[in-house]
């Protein structure tokens, strides 16, 4: 079980900011594949991974990273702060 968070247009496309996900995905990519298989809105949000960033337990990471021990995964577009 982990918390999955969505921000900006990822949040808007998926339609929620946060959910609890039961998964055995070993990597971020596997989690993305599982979520995309669920429903069209997930598939749409994850259709172009180059337009997405991922953070594991609030640290920027990448799609190859392992999920073991991770409690919070966040997906979002490139940041536009400042």
């Amino acid at each position: 079980m982990m918390d999955v968070l969505y921000f900006a247009w990822v949040r808007e496309r998926i339609g929620l900011p946060k959910e609890r996900v039961e998964t055995r995905a070993a990597t971020v990519s596997e989690l993305v594949a599982e979520l995309s298989a669920r429903e069209e809105r997930y598939a749409l949000a994850f259709s172009d991974l180059t337009a997405l960033r991922v953070a594991l337990d609030q640290e920027l990471s990448d799609f190859d990273a392992p999920l073991e021990g991770v409690r919070e995964v966040a997906f979002f577009p490139p940041m536009t702060g400042g």
Binding site: L5, F7, A55, F76, P77, P78, M79, T80, G81, G82
Partner: protein, 147 residues
Amino acid sequence: MRIVVDDALFDPGAELNRFTEAAEGMGAVVSFSGIVRQNAAGTLKAMEIEHYPGMTEKAIAAIAEEAVTRWNLGDALVIHRYGALEPGAPIMMVATSAPHRADAFAAAEFLMDYLKSRAPFWKKETTSEGEGWVAAKDEDEAALDRW
């Protein structure tokens, strides 16, 4: 080092003076303020800034600590707002103090470049034509290469 992530309006001049008064023994203070910029057509109604509570503070602290390590600084300040902002309102500011100007300038630019692309904020603009998320610029990502 002071880091503020808040939705409240802040006063850049008052923050600059407070920061400068605390910067004893420093000869140089650099500040940057980012302002919600009205577009050329004058159609911007509002800017909404979304952020990732928890990660935002950590990411900014890591960036600021990196700056303090790389340059000879007295102190650093980062203020970044989130929520609904009006055109002309301050979005954020950074300030750095140092014995010498080169360090203060370099660290302030470094902080800005990293805040732009590595702190979890997202801007959404509402204009009279509709609303949309601000796209990240390639040049902002490229700006990180110089550090």
